[in-house]
């Protein structure tokens, strides 16, 4: 079996036994990036020299007696995470020249665990998009069909793992930006509970929704990564000081008696082939011993309009710091301070970011705050309460991740409302701060689809356990995109 088809546990085992070194493993993946990335555009920056140096350090650490599930394992970081000494663009012209002077907590923890960064993944500009088409660096191509989008905003991370350019990638999920691209590229993506993973060093989009997470081919691969990045960080006051369970240990538990609720609102109007895949996934969970029931969350259909008030409001404030004064893009020859602001921001930001800044500024403005932002926060609370009530009856909720498989590049980019509806099934978990995962569950027209599981707060272990048992019983996650085997 090729190196890039092996699981994290297999790679770690081989490294431990000295079958190959981290430098050799890193060279293998760098070579794949060289040959496959030009067609995919999944990476904005490849840090080959640094990766080989870090791999050599990992090999030395192993010689010195260290071990660990990620020691010497290559990965790719979404370009939203600050990486010390490496350009951190956030997919924007605004930060094309920005070299971060520090590591995000997620980056630092993975570095400490010995993981080797191969490069920085392409993404929608400032994580605003569902197709990776808003990136300043151009669209990412879906490895399954190059004229299709990989989803977004973590489209580069998803495409990279799907094409086996790396066994792992980090991502962020504000409204579905891990789960939706995971589904559309046939990989496993987990968005942890809000507060489970530090947001320090992750460039803010919507602070009350943003959460760092992981792309991997399987839940078993994701488990040690989540264990490495989860846990309290004194530099993020919203990061919760709760013990981190042993996610790897918990993978194998039987699902006997696990109560899974099928979300009624997700099934209403679901495309029949999508519905059949979700039904089949549910059958697998039943065979594994789960007990299934239907659960209704009547206000869940309001998730998309609620999100598109809350998220733009927060982004309009968070992106104020990009003013051309201290870092990032500055317009040429500003006449005065107003000109500096207007042209730096006008030239530095792309259309989708500007649309959201304008929407957000409007809903926060005097006279409209109560009607839009405050009302959205009230609906958000109702949705959160409905999830809480549901989790008194069931252990996990199940539904589709996306309404359709990957669509063509260019098909929806001029119609923001249609684009926003891609996130109809994923946004609820963000509004309520819940952990959720998408796992491959089949194909429509040759393109991968995902099943989504949502858990109560801090139930990441239960989610990984359920997906792992599902992946032991199915082989959807084993399919490789054509040309990427």
């Amino acid at each position: 079996m090729s190196l890039h088809d092996r699981s994290i546990a297999e790679l770690a085992g081989s490294l431990a036994r000295g079958e190959f070194s981290s430098v050799e493993l890193t060279r293998h993946f760098l070579a794949r990036i060289d040959s496959l990335n030009p067609a995919l555009n999944a990476l904005i920056t490849v840090t080959a020299d640094r990766a080989l140096a870090d791999a050599a350090v990992a090999d030395q650490r192993r010689v010195a007696g260290e071990s660990g599930p990620l020691l010497g394992i290559p990965l790719i970081h979404k370009d939203i995470f600050c990486t010390d000494g490496v350009r951190t663009s956030c997919g924007s012209r605004m930060l094309d020249n920005f070299v971060a002077p520090y590591d995000a907590t997620v980056v630092g923890r993975l570095k400490s665990a010995g993981a080797v960064m191969l490069g920085k993944a392409n993404m929608d500009e400032f994580a605003m998009g569902s197709s990776n088409e808003t990136s300043f660096y151009g669209p990412v191509h879906n490895p399954w069909e190059l004229d299709k989008v990989p989803g977004g905003s973590s489209g580069g991370s998803a495409a990279a793992v799907a094409a086996r350019l790396a066994p792992l990638a980090t991502g962020t999920d504000t409204g579905g930006s891990i789960r939706q691209p995971a589904a559309l590229t046939g990989v496993t993506g987990i968005k942890p509970t809000y507060g489970r993973v530090s947001r320090y060093g992750m460039i803010a989009f919507a602070s009350s929704l943003d959460q760092a997470g992981i792309f991997a081919r399987t839940a078993a691969d994701a488990a040690p990564v989540l264990a490495a990045i989860a846990g309290f960080d004194p530099r993020d006051s919203t990061c919760v000081d709760a013990p981190v369970p042993d996610y790897v240990q918990g993978l194998a538990a039987p699902l006997t008696g696990l109560r899974i609720g099928l979300v009624k609102e997700f099934l209403d109007g679901l495309e029949p082939r999508n519905g059949a895949l979700i039904g089949a996934a549910l059958d697998v969970f039943r065979e594994l011993g789960a007990v299934t029931t239907t659960v209704s969350l009547p206000n869940l259909p309001l998730s998309v309009p609620t999100y598109y008030v809350v998220a733009p409001a927060e982004c309009s404030s968070n992106l104020s710091r990009f003013d051309g004064v201290r870092f990032g893009y500055r317009c040429a020859n500003p006449r005065d301070i107003t000109d500096l602001y207007e042209r730096s921001r006008g030239e530095g930001f792309g259309a989708e970011v500007k649309r959201r800044i304008m929407t957000g500024t409007y809903v926060l403005s005097a006279g409209y705050f109560d009607a839009y932002y405050l009302k959205a926060q009230k609906v958000r609370q109702l949705i959160t309460d409905e999830f809480r009530a549901a989790f008194e009856r069931v252990d996990l909720l199940l539904g589709p991740t996306t309404p359709t498989p990957a669509f063509a590049i260019g098909a929806k980019i001029d119609d923001p409302v249609t684009m926003y509806l891609n996130d109809i099934y994923t946004i609820g978990a963000n509004l309520a701060g819940l952990p959720a995962v998408s796992a491959p569950c089949g194909f429509i027209d040759g393109l991968p689809m995902g099943v989504q599981l949502i858990g109560p707060h801090f139930a990441e272990g239960r989610l990984l356990n359920a997906v792992h048992r599902y992946q032991l019983a199915t082989d959807w996650h084993r399919h490789a995109a054509p040309g990427c085997a």
């Binding site: 971060a100 002077p101 803010a204 530099r235 006051s237 104020s320 710091r321 004064v325 301070i337």
Partner: protein
């Protein structure tokens, strides 16, 4: 003319709290340092950084609240005041609007005639200071010094209870 008018004064005081570090970062607050030598990544509003509240600033605000017999909020909210200005690195000031840390209280002052007068304090809230724009000695430019950015302030608002400049 003054005889026809009653002097009514209310004060809004921005008191700097004598903490060693800033309200949301670990940078020093000492006075007189060279420009921009006491501004860390949080004060500079670098991408990805987050504020962490200085417990000492909270302790001092609470002390003030107790001294004026005010209700101390057990749940207090910080809010962003958004505006663009070159010495405001984040594009917003972190301040308090709803649920300030110190609620209604009062202060007694002694007048010249030996009687006591009670001055109502409406509220006091925590906020961060902005930086400084420098114009002196710069011909065609404005300098920015962010040493002050993030200095903890307690904004104390009084009732319009003062009736003379002597009362202030």
């Amino acid at each position: 003319m003054m005889q026809d008018w009653e002097v009514v004064i209310g004060l809004e005081i921005h008191a700097q709290l004598a903490t060693r570090s800033k309200i949301f970062s670990g940078a020093a607050t000492a006075y007189g340092a060279a420009p921009n030598t006491q501004a860390c990544l949080v004060d500079l509003a670098y991408p990805g950084v987050l504020p962490v509240l200085n417990v000492e600033a909270v302790r001092m605000a609470v002390k003030f609240g107790v001294a004026i017999g005010a209700r101390i909020a057990e749940r207090s909210i910080f809010a962003r005041k958004n505006y663009f200005y070159p010495d405001l690195p984040k594009g917003y000031q972190i301040s308090q609007y709803e649920e300030p840390i110190v609620g209604r209280g009062s202060l007694e002052i002694w007048l010249d005639d030996g009687t006591a007068k009670r001055i109502g304090i409406t509220r006091a809230h925590l906020e961060e200071d902005a930086g400084k724009s420098l114009h002196e000695g710069l011909a065609d430019a404005t300098g920015i010094d962010l040493n002050r950015a993030g200095t903890p302030l307690l904004e104390i608002v009084s009732e319009p209870d003062l009736r003379s400049a002597k009362h202030t």
